[in-house]
Symmetry: C2
Subunit: 342 residues, 2 copies
DNA sequence: ATGGATAACGTTAACGTTTTCGTTCACATA
DNA sequence: TATGTGAACGAAAACGTTAACGTTATCCAT
């Protein structure tokens, strides 16, 4: 019933030659006559021959597939990253096998093994918040499969990394508030686990100190889920302080818009009474009222760069078996996008 | 340099038996002694043996991989769908190969061929807006690869489909405005190409007619890009009409929030002066001020259902070569989420 | 003693492709 | 005539796994 796939054998039989010749003809080997090549190409096209990539992979070195492990996908930042990865990979002839860790370490381990057994040529990964060590990536090292980490990376693991400078981003966000005339600046930060929120917090402190402003711990609130509601609640708490702030730097746009809406509900004028800066430049930052000033986080470029580094490692190693995988740390620029909230 | 992968052969040699026996032992064949099985399993675990999925796929019937073709990924709805697909697929032992059509027909064709040559066991697809015919999917039919279409589907193509009832959604949105007391209801619709926006428009008209309200074409605006700015602009135009509307049904939340912000900039009170309903229940609908009443579009469930139907077809066919692929049209429920904008 | 049953393992071919190493034939050169 | 030289193609092995089919050895019933 099921039609069988066209193979080299089919072409060979119809043309009265061997599979070898067909294979060579399709790959433009010099020891095949132009005449034969033309016939083979013509028939291959007519029959819509598609090479069996499993067979190719089994025979050859690479599978032309890279694996991706990502904490979640329903997220503006991550989907932008994936977009960057896929576009670069596909235009270089690589497929992308996406897997989810759902922010669970156990899942991350499983996915590493799965990708290994799928014989991917390389792995891109953004670690979960639970991940401490990296032993579960050792199998990739052992078998010389290049890895590139992005966004959430491990400092000790030896591989190429692509991140942004969260500290600098936090610094610029805070600096912008200072330059806009704010005297008391609050920070609604993320949890202590992922390095990102730590970096942003550090940047906040650095900007304050540099401007000779006091760092007041009561002006720092710490999210656990990093969602809209937390931004809303913490902002209300900040307003109840004896000396409320006149500027807020929020760890994400979600939190920032939450805070912004709390301010509007409290009948405060933005940016006159209070200024806000978010982080990421996600869609909601553009549509809030007023639109949210934010730090643009180049998701697409992060993905693109990570894919580029990975494929570079793969290709270089193919040419030179002694090529050592890179261990650069690429830090992409963020920049402030000034909007109505400041 | 590069360590070689552990194969059945390695295990066999160390144990002084043949690959066949090892293979059978690992797969719990009855003609292998318990003793041997134990030894094989122990060594396999110790060496961290992982079967080569290319070889398995080459030999056997399936690759345990399903392909996905999606117009774009940076989109709340689509990433929700993907999430649903991946969770169902992975918990059933299937990998997901995601490809992008970027809403271009040419790309869609390429991806079909790519997935075919990758020998995926099945294909999930949401069509591009450019897609008219479906000849490029015939190759999958020809080779008995099941297809499930979701969201943007083709009526004539014979396969399982998962959609929502856009017409009913549009009807309910409009009905809600009518029930809330609106007398003149405008619609900011999407372009004429994808069926979705047609459906929503039909639902809008149906609700009007059913309520004995006149359908006034001047109250219908048509987006081309379906973005925030269009919602904003069209809303302003609607306000300039001699007899402006008192309710707006927007084809998406983006457009809806755009309209909402235009109203606020025009100092109108929402929902007193004007009510708005969006469509999709994306994140921005929750964080606008007031939050946007919208039609919840169950992205996750759509993905989950589509994956379920596809894997069902795959598995049934594996058991019974005469199994015919389904051609159900599953229409998932949408429901109205009432928020502050009405 | 012969035949048959059973348990436990091995032989072999196959999946489709690639590549190394021949082979064949025609033709040119010494 | 013998030798060399390309040009154009083919044979065979290999990648790792699986499953149909064979092969033993042992034991029991006739």
């Amino acid at each position: 019933m099921t039609k069988h796939r066209i193979t080299l054998k089919d072409i060979a039989e119809k043309l009265g030659i061997t599979v070898t010749t067909v294979s060579k003809a399709l790959k433009d080997y010099p020891d095949i006559s132009e005449d034969t090549k033309k016939k083979v190409h013509a028939l291959a096209k007519k029959l819509n021959y598609q090479p069996d990539s499993q067979a190719v992979a089994l025979r050859g070195k690479g599978s032309k597939t890279i694996g991706l492990i990502i904490p979640e996908i329903v997220h503006y930042f991550f989907s932008s990253v994936i977009n960057g990865i896929m576009n670069h990979a596909e235009s270089n002839g690589y497929r992308v096998l996406i897997t989810l860790s759902n922010n669970r370490l156990e899942m991350e381990k499983k996915q590493v093994n799965l990708l290994f057994s799928t014989k991917v040529d390389g792995v891109l990964v953004s670690l979960t918040n639970e991940t401490k060590g990296t032993k579960h990536f050792d199998i990739l090292k052992e078998y010389d499969i290049p890895v590139v980490m992005f966004d959430k990376v491990d400092n000790k693991f030896h591989c190429n990394k692509v991140t942004i400078d969260d500290c600098l981003g936090g610094y610029n966000a805070t600096k912008h508030l200072i330059d806009s005339g704010c005297q008391r600046i609050a920070h609604i930060r993320g949890p202590k686990k992922p390095l990102n929120s730590i970096g942003r917090f550090e940047g906040y402190k650095k900007a304050l100190i540099e401007a000779n402003m006091v760092f007041d711990p009561s002006l720092v609130k710490e999210c656990t889920e990093v969602v809209y509601d937390e931004g809303y609640q913490f902002c209300k708490e900040l307003l109840k302080l004896p000396k409320p702030p006149d500027g807020i730097f929020a760890v994400t746009d979600q939190v920032g818009v939450g805070a912004l809406n709390a301010l509007k509900d409290a009948k405060l004028n933005i940016p006159e009474d209070m200024k806000i800066v978010g982080f990421s430049d996600s869609q909601i930052a553009q549509v809030s009222q007023p639109p949210l000033t934010t730090i643009h986080q180049p998701g697409y470029e992060i993905g693109e760069t990570a894919a580029k580094l990975l494929i570079e490692d793969i290709e270089l190693r193919k040419k030179d078996p002694n090529h050592m995988f890179g261990s650069k740390q690429i830090v992409l620029d963020t920049h402030l996008i000034k909007r109505g909230s400041t």
